[in-house]
């Protein structure tokens, strides 16, 4: 059920600010694609254009094409709400619903999709929590608030919530940046496991992480403050980290700037 994403000529704006310029790339299904680049280079913005979350910010808009297999996400007939049910997202800071139990957090998306039967909900909730490597830690306290878990557990809960609705693509916006190394490792293991089923895109500031978890890596950069972010290159991760085509990529990876 994983799908290929093909982006062509994509621009994104915040009001009058041109945030990213003319991005084209192909994201392969059942693989992990990492976005790296300095702060403000537009990689998070670009990620959010892939499930039409960019436009929920007042004044924000997008030009260009994002094809999910053979459907254009920005076609006028497409409902952004439907897009987000197919393209799931995990955020930088764990954001479980604070007033809901662990169970209800995972079931939230299912209920939106009209799943009401308790037995079916139970089954999918367990499946999703197991898929997120969290089941063993929480199975005895499913009724407790999700906000009571540790940061790493909360992030896995958010992943469980996202995979419960069986999306075709999973977007992760620096999912480990608020976590300690052990929780980070748990999430990275999980990403390795999830890629057999999903198309995964991950934004990260941690280059070791990109090298560890991703199959392909895209490097974004900006020419200067106020300039739009651009895609510099995208290639197999091993190539990007050993022998990149562009000088800027090499400079960034070897720590010469950024």
């Amino acid at each position: 059920m994983a799908k290929r994403i093909e982006v062509s000529g994509l621009h994104a704006y915040y009001g009058g600010v041109h945030a990213i310029e003319d991005i084209s790339m192909t994201i392969e299904p059942r693989s992990v694609t990492a976005f790296i680049g300095p702060s403000g280079c537009g990689k998070s913005t670009f990620l959010r254009t892939l499930n039409r979350m960019h436009e929920v910010i007042p004044g924000a808009r997008v030009e260009g094409k994002v094809m999910l297999d053979d459907e254009d996400l920005y076609a006028s007939s497409v409902d952004p709400v439907a897009v987000r049910r197919v393209v799931g997202m995990v955020f930088q800071r764990p954001n479980p619903f604070p007033t809901m139990s662990i169970y209800d957090n995972v079931a939230a998306g299912l209920k939106l999709n009209g799943v009401r039967r308790k037995s079916q909900l139970d089954e999918i909730v367990e499946e999703s929590l197991q898929g997120a490597n969290l089941w063993n830690e929480v199975k005895d306290r499913l009724g407790k608030p999700g906000a009571g878990l540790s940061g790493g557990q909360q992030q896995r809960l958010c992943i469980a919530r996202a995979i419960a609705v069986q999306p075709q693509v999973m977007l992760m916006d620096e999912p480990c940046s608020a976590l300690d190394p052990i929780s980070t490792l748990a999430i990275e293991d999980l990403i390795g496991k999830l890629k057999s089923q999903y198309t995964i895109v991950i934004v990260t500031h941690n280059m070791q992480q990109a090298a560890r978890v991703s199959d392909r890596t895209a490097f974004f950069n900006i020419a200067g403050t106020g300039q739009p972010g651009k895609l510099i290159e995208i290639d197999d991760t091993s190539k990007i980290f050993t022998n990149p085509e562009q000088k800027a990529t090499e400079d960034y990876i070897t720590g010469r700037f950024g």
Partner: protein
């Protein structure tokens, strides 16, 4: 970004190092500010205490002369040679009209707040928010005039309709639905407390973490589903607190209610019929002609209102504060 803050931090440290260990001049300002703030706090408490003492002091002689039970009697004849008065009718009128006003106003106020916060275009939202807040600034005598001169004349239809359809419920029962009823007063009160409930609710909605809203949106929630998933559960205790603050305000409202209601002695459970009185409306209507005992009696009733409002406000604050726990 991290490197920038790092630079600032070292610069700050160097600056502090240079000023040695002597007490800086900022300390005097600190002391003045602390005593001014503490003084203001004490003044507030002192005023509250003084009001309470005054009310009790003035009320005691009248209460001693009272030949009826102050808490349970429905009659209000403190000016007679044998003064007989009790607060039962006033308490009933006050509590029922305010509760009804709260029930009418809260859903509308929450609807307004939701519309302003999540649905309306930004420019309309700020204009609308401003207009709603403006409602709070209209003097209550204007509401009273409007209630008396306009609303009560147009309440006939609604009152008769409610009486016909819901007459089997005692509150809407009775033989002769009228214009100057507790129900009409409640509608006027509802409009008066709408702005406070709406603006506090809006404040609560503004505090809903962006992250929760985005979490719901990213799951594929529509706007209404986002509100149900992320906004309403988060804002629930805030909304309860806001409506209770509105309730407290409705209880103390005087002139608008006094203008709308026509006094008929005795508790009348049929809210659509003319009559009823509240603590505040009774004080406004009878203070001028009251004897010394009569004034004492009114002050005693004011004391009861003071206590009820205090309790309601305390409960409301407690509910609003409780929200902080589960975030």
């Amino acid at each position: 970004m991290t490197s920038e803050t790092g630079v600032e931090a070292t610069a700050g440290a160097r600056h502090r190092g240079a000023t040695s260990l002597r007490m800086s001049t900022g300390r005097a300002g600190d002391k003045i500010f602390v005593s001014a703030a503490r003084g203001s706090g004490i003044v507030v408490l002192a005023i509250m205490a003084a009001i309470a003492v005054f009310l009790v002091w003035k009320a005691i002689p009248a209460l001693q002369d009272n030949k009826a039970n102050f808490l349970t009697a429905e009659e209000w004849n403190p000016n007679a040679t044998e003064p007989r008065f009790g607060i039962a009718q006033l308490a009933f009128g006050t509590i029922v009209s305010s509760l009804l006003a709260m029930l009418i106003a809260t859903p509308i106020a929450i609807g307004i707040a939701l519309f302003i916060s999540f649905y309306s275009p930004r420019r309309l939202a700020s204009a609308l928010g401003y207009v709603v807040d403006l409602l709070a600034a209209v003097p209550s005598i204007v509401y009273g005039l409007w209630g008396l001169a306009f609303l009560s004349k147009h309440m006939d239809g609604i009152s008769t309709f409610l009486n016909d359809v819901l007459g089997w419920i005692p509150l809407f029962g009775g033989d002769s639905p009228g214009k100057n009823s507790i129900f009409t007063a409640s509608v006027v009160l509802a409009i008066m407390i709408l702005p406070i409930i709406s603006s506090i609710t809006r404040e609560v909605f503004l505090q809903v973490p962006r992250a929760n809203v985005e979490a719901a949106l990213a799951l594929g929630a529509t706007r209404w589903e986002t509100i149900r998933l992320a906004v309403l559960p988060y804002g629930r205790s805030g909304m309860i607190g806001a409506s209770m603050l509105g309730l407290g305000r409705a209880m103390g409202e005087t002139i608008a209610v006094a203008m709308v209601l026509t006094y008929v002695p005795g508790i009348n459970i049929h809210l659509l019929e003319n009559g009823g009185a509240t603590f505040a409306s009774n004080i406004a209507n009878s203070f001028d002609e009251a004897t010394a005992t009569g004034r004492g009696a009114l002050i005693a009733s004011g004391l009861v209102l003071f206590a009820i409002t205090l309790v309601i406000n305390m409960v409301a604050r407690a509910v609003v504060a409780r929200r902080k726990e589960f975030v």
